[in-house]
């Protein structure tokens, strides 16, 4: 049968997709994954290979964050990585924890944690005043 396949003769049907959170989360994991490939891998290479933690000083950090470019880079990384990672954790926990009430509770806590972390760290980075350290 496979041999007979030609693309024009295939009937394509359209339908209304009903969104649900799982579908959104699935797509988000993949989209953010692509973003993270550049941001996270880049970050690791720059911070941990080209520079190493052994030579890290607060002055170095200050120098980098003096530029808004780096600030935005890191903030973006933050915004993608934390929701991605926590949603990944949620996937894993939901595999093993089956009590719906517990799952709901955990999900609330995780959501709270994402929001708190993202806000806190964003403020931290955005308001970081490099001049203090130079």
């Amino acid at each position: 049968m496979a041999a007979a396949t030609s693309s024009q003769k295939i009937t394509v049907r359209k339908f209304q997709v009903h969104s649900n959170f799982e579908r959104f989360a699935y797509l988000f994991m993949r989209m953010s994954g692509v973003g993270l490939l550049i941001l996270a891998v880049g970050h690791m290479l720059i911070q941990h290979v080209l520079n190493s933690s052994a030579n890290l000083t607060i002055e170095f950090v200050a120098a980098q964050w003096n530029s808004w470019g780096w600030k935005v880079y890191d903030i973006l990384l933050l915004w993608l990585a934390i929701p991605h990672g926590i949603n990944g954790l949620r996937n894993i926990l939901e595999d093993y924890i089956h009590n719906p009430t517990t799952v709901k509770l955990i999900n609330r806590l995780l959501a709270l944690f994402v929001v708190a972390t993202v806000i806190w760290a964003t403020i931290g980075m955005a308001l970081f005043d490099a001049s203090k350290f130079q």
Binding site: A40, H48, V49, S52, G85, T117, A121, D129
Partner: protein
């Protein structure tokens, strides 16, 4: 809980092929990165909110043992990233199904090609650091004393 233990045990016992191994590696690396990332993010935020604490952690990250951890995270990110892309591609291109075995191998190959030089480079850094420490009469295996923190906090 029993399901957790059973699942982990059977995941290890099941003789799956490359996809199964990749899945385990992806999961473990994801958790590893997340653990590190959460610490790292809160810590970095301290640069603004609590610079003394941040100064301590900068010092903390200099310990060679911690640097080994850094190497592990590096491995995790590299593998997780490329395997994540592989999963994404296979999910979005069902018709490439037949490449699944090979794709898993390719991801490992890419990972090793990138990681080995990086590891050598980073490891030599650690060794260098160790010999520096040795010159000062301290040892490489030193565990960072938490009491230091009080010092920085002032």
């Amino acid at each position: 809980m029993s399901s957790l233990i059973l699942t982990i045990r059977e995941s290890l016992r099941y003789r799956g092929r490359s996809g199964h191994v990749s899945w385990m590696a992806h999961r473990v690396s994801g958790i590893a990165i997340l653990t590190f990332l959460v610490i790292h993010v809160w810590d970095t935020a301290n640069a603004h909110f609590w610079p003394q604490a941040y100064a301590w952690s900068v010092a903390f990250f200099k310990y060679p043992l911690v640097a080994v951890g850094e190497l592990v995270i590096m491995a995790a990110v590299l593998y997780h990233a490329f395997n994540g892309i592989r999963i994404t591609i296979l999910d979005f291109k069902p018709e490439w199904w037949m490449h699944q075995q090979r794709s898993a191998t390719i991801v490992w190959a890419i990972f090793l090609v990138l990681f080995i030089p990086i590891a050598i480079y980073m490891f030599s850094g650690i060794v260098g650091h160790c010999s520096e420490l040795a010159a000062h009469g301290s040892t490489c295996w030193q565990i960072p004393p938490f009491s230091d923190f009080a010092k920085y906090a002032n």
